[in-house]
């Protein structure tokens, strides 16, 4: 009952006096728009000013404070579709078709593990680490044509079909992350060795990439090998092929890199001397702990 509640409030609240009464309802926006002020009408009907010249600034800007120009914060354009472009990673595509072609033309040896330096030595790809390019990614064009077992190490895989195509032939796929410094060493290995720097140790992937590199579905290098085996069987069931026997693989197929290792057979911290055909290894304990951690 509204009257009862109002009277209850009356009993509890202060005495109603001449100064306690509320403002009238006529000053609401609706009433003010219906009864405009005389000075306001005069300002609108004036013969000069931005209103009469149809030159009002956008809504929300005071024509007097703006002094005829837009405020600075509106002159600079906004392009929100480019948000996060500084942190986005790029991967150059390589299809199964090009891989098969390279193998058929004997530019790549399928009996050895196929790595990023192997693919870069074909001079088909120009990877630029300073342009936020982090390696190569596998596309599924030519999945029906692919028919050689290989040990492939790639930086990104977009589709399950590509993984299935490789594993159907009896191959092995891993996704591997390389940070820009180790990438520059891998792209042109000879140039890197000529510089005379020790082999860098590879950094862990960034936080937004850790999830994919620990995912067995992406065959990440940090994933559990048991779960990878499960996923291989699952994919085989899904796409309807039979996984070949793992004992038939050659020992080369089982070669895998340490998460800190860049080159097959070379450890981080070693210095390669091309002229004298020697390798220098650090003996100090602190270097060994650093490079082996």
């Amino acid at each position: 009952m509204p009257i009862e509640r109002g009277l209850q409030y009356l009993r509890q609240m202060q005495r109603v006096t001449l100064k306690n009464l509320p403002m009238p309802l006529e000053k609401t926006l609706k009433w003010q728009q219906a009864h405009p002020d005389e000075t306001k009408i005069k300002a609108i009907m004036s013969r000069k000013g931005p209103i009469s010249r149809s030159a009002l600034p956008p809504y929300g800007i005071d024509p007097i404070q703006a002094e005829g120009r837009l405020p600075w914060i509106l002159t600079v354009p906004k392009e929100p579709y480019y948000e996060g472009v500084e942190e986005a990673r790029q991967y150059l595509p390589i299809s199964l078709r090009t891989l098969q072609r390279l193998i058929d033309l004997r530019r790549i040896n399928p009996e050895k593990p196929i790595d990023l330096p192997v693919l870069c030595n074909t001079k088909l790809f120009s990877i630029q680490p300073d342009q936020r390019q982090f390696g190569l990614q596998l596309t599924d064009e030519g999945a029906d044509l692919f028919s050689t077992p290989i040990n492939l190490e790639i930086q990104w895989v977009a589709s399950e079909l590509a993984i299935a195509a490789i594993e159907r032939c009896g191959g092995v796929l891993t996704t591997r992350y390389f940070d820009p410094i180790s990438l520059s060493a891998l792209i042109d290995a000879k140039k890197f060795f000529e510089r005379g720097e020790p082999i860098p140790r590879c950094d862990t992937p960034p936080i937004n990439a850790v999830e994919s590199y620990t995912d067995p579905k992406q065959r990440g290098y940090l994933a559990n090998p048991d779960s990878i085996r499960e996923e291989r069987q699952r994919l085989a069931q899904k796409y309807g092929y039979k996984l070949p026997d793992p004992s038939k693989f050659s020992s080369l197929f089982r070669l895998k890199k340490d998460p800190r290792q860049i080159f097959y057979g070379l450890e981080p911290g070693w210095l390669v001397n091309l002229k004298d055909q020697t390798i220098l290894k650090p003996t100090d304990a602190k270097f060994q702990t650093f490079y082996h951690s």
Binding site: L7, Y9, R15, L18, L21
Partner: protein
């Protein structure tokens, strides 16, 4: 009045017939006023029920204590019935605001007047020639840009702010003012405004003992008041006497307490109920029921 209100609530639940058993010699509908110097009669309560016109369909009548000014001790003489249409309306503070605005502005006349161009002295005559003197060129000494010159669109003559608030709003305003006062314990009903002495201290101490605020409004039905209260209220600041025809929302809210006599209450209720329950046009309306 807190004590009285809780008792009032208890009594509201009891039936009226049980209280009527204790009724004294007075009749149920009317009440005989006391003379000025007599003490309170032995038989109490004096008033128990009042017949109300246009009884409200939903709410029962409200009840309040009947007090005296004849003695300093706060003896209650009985219970008074109040009509809920007047004393239990919804507390519309915006209608109170409108009434007060009306009361302030309908008498207002703005006397500001600035004479225009044609009411100024001679407009002919350049103050100095057009060229030759190093000063600005002017045509007359009384242009608006001059000191002492005319004003083009200034206030013109007496403007009145008179308007008449609709009758329904004025009636509603009085009813809400009375409910507001009642439900905030600021209304007191009194048998009559007869005092034993004319000394102002008597009335002041009485009001202080009973916690009646700094300003009290005494309302009687006629404009001829007893001599004692006239003298006492003239000497005290904040006490005003008023007949029923002078009752208005501004005065009700300005004074902290409101003291009504039974005769005033009867008159007020009659007038307000007649106004609330009549739907004639102002032209067709007959003469008001009572003379002021």
């Amino acid at each position: 009045m807190l004590r009285s209100l809780s008792l009032v609530k208890i009594l509201r639940n009891c039936s009226l017939q049980s209280i009527r058993y204790f009724e004294s010699s007075t009749q149920s509908s009317s009440f005989s006023p006391e003379s000025s110097a007599n003490p309170i009669p032995q038989q109490l309560p004096l008033i128990v029920s009042r017949q109300l016109e246009y009884p409200h369909t939903r709410y029962p009548p409200l009840q309040a204590w009947l007090e005296t000014l004849g003695q300093k001790r706060d003896d209650k003489l009985g219970i008074v019935d109040l009509h809920p249409s007047i004393w239990q309306t919804s507390p519309r503070l915006d209608i109170l605001y409108e009434n007060i605005e009306w009361q302030k502005t309908y008498k207002k006349i703005d006397w500001a007047y600035t004479p225009p161009h044609h009411e100024y002295p001679s407009m002919r005559g350049k103050p100095w020639p057009q060229k030759g003197t190093g000063r600005a060129r002017h045509k007359s000494k009384f242009d608006p840009q001059w000191k002492g010159g005319y004003k083009v669109h200034g206030p013109k003559g007496p403007t009145s702010f008179f308007y008449v608030l609709p009758k329904e709003k004025r009636v509603e305003g009085l009813c809400t003012a009375l409910t507001v006062k009642l439900h905030q314990n600021d209304v007191h009903f009194v048998d009559s405004l007869d005092l034993p002495t004319h000394q102002p201290t008597y009335l002041q101490e009485l009001a202080e003992d009973r916690f009646w605020g700094p300003s009290v409004l005494f309302v009687d039905d006629t404009d001829i008041m007893p001599h004692n209260i006239m003298f006492a209220s003239a000497k005290t600041e904040g006490f005003t006497l008023m007949p029923v025809y002078g009752l208005n929302v501004y005065s009700i809210l300005k004074h902290t307490t409101l003291v009504l006599t039974i005769r005033a209450l009867n008159k007020i209720e009659k007038k307000l109920l007649h106004a609330l329950h009549s739907c004639d046009n102002p032209k067709d309306q007959p003469a008001p029921p009572d003379e002021p």
